[in-house]
């Protein structure tokens, strides 16, 4: 087996340009994790069957395991590492932390990137819209409910509402 020749490309990841060399058959997932050390993006199947590797490309959530890195050149890539504003978590991240919407935390980066894109497009999504939006991200821990509630909480806070988690969602009925 001969080592395929690498291409040198410039990526914009989380707003910053990065020059990286990689062979053209490498997926965005591999390059983010293995060439750039951005291990926040996870993988659960590498076949597009779980959503763990979701990142945003030009604002659209996509499966980084099925996109060639070379196809992301010249585009804006955003990963979970780019969600917080400096040291301050995003509203969505805060809401996930408040509600325990991240249990093992493995699907969380992908879900955050999907939900973040939803909230950018829709400030007041219904529960059904949230469910539909997350229908490509598997989570095995939470049963999704805390995730739905966290997205709703973040949306409300994003609209400027002073919102805390409902009593039922943290103490039960």
């Amino acid at each position: 087996m001969t080592e395929p020749s690498k291409v040198l490309a410039t990526f914009t990841v989380n707003g910053e340009p990065h020059e990286v060399a990689f062979p053209p058959h490498k997926t965005l997932l591999e390059v983010l994790r293995e060439e750039m050390g951005l291990t926040g993006t996870k993988h659960g199947c590498e076949l597009g069957e779980c959503g763990a590797c979701t990142v945003q490309v030009d604002g659209t959530p996509i499966l980084s395991c099925l996109m060639l890195a070379i196809d992301a050149v010249g585009r804006q890539v955003r990963t979970v590492e780019g969600l917080a504003d400096k040291a301050e978590l995003s509203l969505l991240q805060h809401a996930f932390a408040d509600l325990g919407a991240a249990q093992c935390g493995y699907c969380t980066p992908g879900i955050l990137m999907t939900a973040d894109a939803l909230l950018r497009a829709n400030q007041d999504p219904t529960r059904e819209e949230i469910k539909q939006c997350l229908a490509g991200n598997l989570c095995r821990c939470t049963g999704y409910l805390k995730i739905f509630e966290a997205v709703e909480l973040a949306a409300a806070r994003g609209r400027g509402e002073q919102r805390e988690p409902s009593k039922e969602s943290i103490y039960g009925s």
């Binding site: 087996m1 590498e46 996930f96 325990g100 229908a135 095995r140 995730i147 103490y171």
Partner: protein, 847 residues
Amino acid sequence: MVLDDPVKREAPVSRTETPWHHDVKKDDLRVIGKPIRKVDARSKVSGLTRFADDLSLPRMLHMKLLRSTMAHAEIVHIDTKKARALPGVKGILTGKDLPIPFGILPVSQDEHALCPDRVRFVGDPVVAIAATEEEIAWDACRLVEVEYRELRTIGGIHEAAANDEPRLHDYGVRGNIHRLENLEFGDLDDGFQRAARVREDTFFFEGNTHMPMEQHATLAHFDKDGKLTVWSSTQTPHYLHKALARTLHPLPAHHIRVIACPNGGGFGGKSDPFNHEIAAAKMAMLTGRPVKIALTREEVFWCHRGRHPVLMRSRIGVSKTGRITALDFESYLDGGAYGSYGTASTFYTGALQTVTYAVENYHFRGVRFFTNKAPCGPKRGHGTPQPRFALEVQLDKVACDLGLDPAQVRLDNLTPRDSLTANFLRIGSMGLGACIEKVTAGSGWKQRRGKLGRQPNGRYRGLGLACSSYLSGAGLPIYWNGMPHSGVQLKLDRSGLVTAFCGSTDIGQGSDSVLGWIIGEVLGIDPLGIKVVTSDTDLTPVDLGSYSSRVTVMTGNAAMQAAERAREIVAKGASEKLGVPAGRLVFADARVFDAEEPGKGMTFQEAVCAAEARFGTIGTVGSYTPPQAAAKFRGGGVGPSPSYSYSAAVVEVEVDAETGIYTVPKVWIAHDIGRALNAAVAMGQIEGSVYMGLGEAMMEEMAYRDRSHKGHRIFVHKIPSLLEYKSPTSLEMPEIVTYVVEDPDRNGPFGAKEVGQGPLLPMMPAVANAVFDAVGVRVDEIPVSFEKVFAALQSKKEGKDARFGPALDASGVPVVDFGESLKIRTPWQGGDGTAWNEPKRDKKAAR
């Protein structure tokens, strides 16, 4: 004669000492019970939590395993010449390099890191290859030639029961029987004679798997000082450490360091020591370079250790009011290719039936077979969901037979709190009654059950109820020893920092946070300010691992003890400084102050400094060992626990009677958690359990392809992928109404009991019972798939049995000679926990 009054079954229970904390009033707690963020919440939402595959080291090699393509075969020859010649290949291991067998239980050391002479399922590892790139290692595996001599495949329970040869293993009971248990408590004949109604049913629960989102990964590094470090996605670093010390002999145990990374989901699937962990360690020692292996999703299915497929026969006797007078329960487990936790799994299929309902006379027979499938083991609920399904559906049928309300039947049979069960399990707090009342009230059970019927959309709705119980940690460790099950060390620093060291492993359930909450409550400090160092065998005292729902109670109690000791030292230091008796000092809001004069006090940091000045460097330890079990018969070691949680669920289904397709629009679930250390996190465990239970109930199964071709039998997992192994998505999730029932238990820290596993258990039978309520057919198999509902509806339409499930005769459940039972007198018969017909034996062997 029918007796309605159960035999007096209250027996004296020797009480453990009552700690001060279980009956603390809720309002007096500042941390416990509050929805505080988990200590790792920020890193988890920031992508900063480092899972095993997120780690890499300079010069790291990538390892792949070549796995068996045969279900059952002898290895005749392995030729690795071509692979070795591939540029980039740095190391190759075969079975002869790792000759020492291992296994999680001392009684079943039947695995090898790489199969030396025989493969027992498609996926059994044969060769390990490390190379500079993962692709090269994969290519190299394709260049290895393995010559197999095929052996007859043992494809499941019936085949294993019928074929003693070839034996998969040369140990076990006989033939392909791994374990055989036969325990009889009380007088079954009498119990059945007194029954007004006896019914016998058969059930089947198909195997399913954990499917953690994170694929197992391991990084091993052997440094130049001869010390080995292994980072791994394991729930049980201590047991992995033991397995490494055993298989890498003569490497001394204290030269091995295991660091369990945060697990990206475990659910029991990362509780065994695995082939890839041992092979990676050996490969690192061989090559002198760090070695990483990250399993593919398919390989995660090969690791498995999930739910056993179990056939069950249950004969129950009840009085005319539905009181259980006798239960005769048989379980037949398909264990797969290796022992794993199977011995415990077998006992667990019989252990907890008595914990929810007071079974007066109880007979349990269980058998576990070896078959050529990926090995089964502990999945969330370990061995108890299958019999729970059977019992809860059977009770529903009993209620139906007698024209009684299934909820009332359960309420009338509740095991009393503070009692001993027929099989000598010691019950403490018991909130099942409250749970049933919550879910029946919430779901409108009395008004709506049996009356929902056809909806305007043409579908049929129904409600189903089921209950369950689970242990808060196994009473005995995996290997017999007299040491604590959990240890915690605290270091108090003059900066005011408290660092907690503990071997427990956070698998997403929040065990790191449990340490923080308990220590924070006792020392009156912010739990998020406590540094938690866990699951590193070099640094942290042993905790047995994140399995059997043991961490909150066991680690929690150890943390409590360490924190109380620290509090005592700090209080003494502060007491001298303040001139206030230590006993009057309050620890709260990061202050230490006089209860009678709250203004008189100092900061926690000042108090620590005072204590350090007075007593020197401050460090305390705490440890926990569960109470002695009451059971003394052989097999009595599986089932005892410091406390038992309880759950009840009502499920609403909507069935399309034309196709059998159904949905679950709503679930009401109540869980007796003793006390919620953190309500929000407990809610997450309950909702996650509902989700996973629904997956098992509706769709998840370890299906196998079984084909013959030119005299060769192909027997392989049908669907080892996230797409085709069906698990519920965001769209299948019902609305869930959750009730956190708190019935503090004296053995739990602040009264806490488990929550991670119990709430899964009622889901499967509740779904089956709800389908019956909706369309009047019984599906006595899990999963309750659309096809089975359809088949039962067809059968009903044709005037046949409105049921889908295993036959009552030998075609349904095989004939197995269980031999003579061990006979144990129940507590109400004056029994002392021993079997009166058991031969004298070594006390240690009893465990």
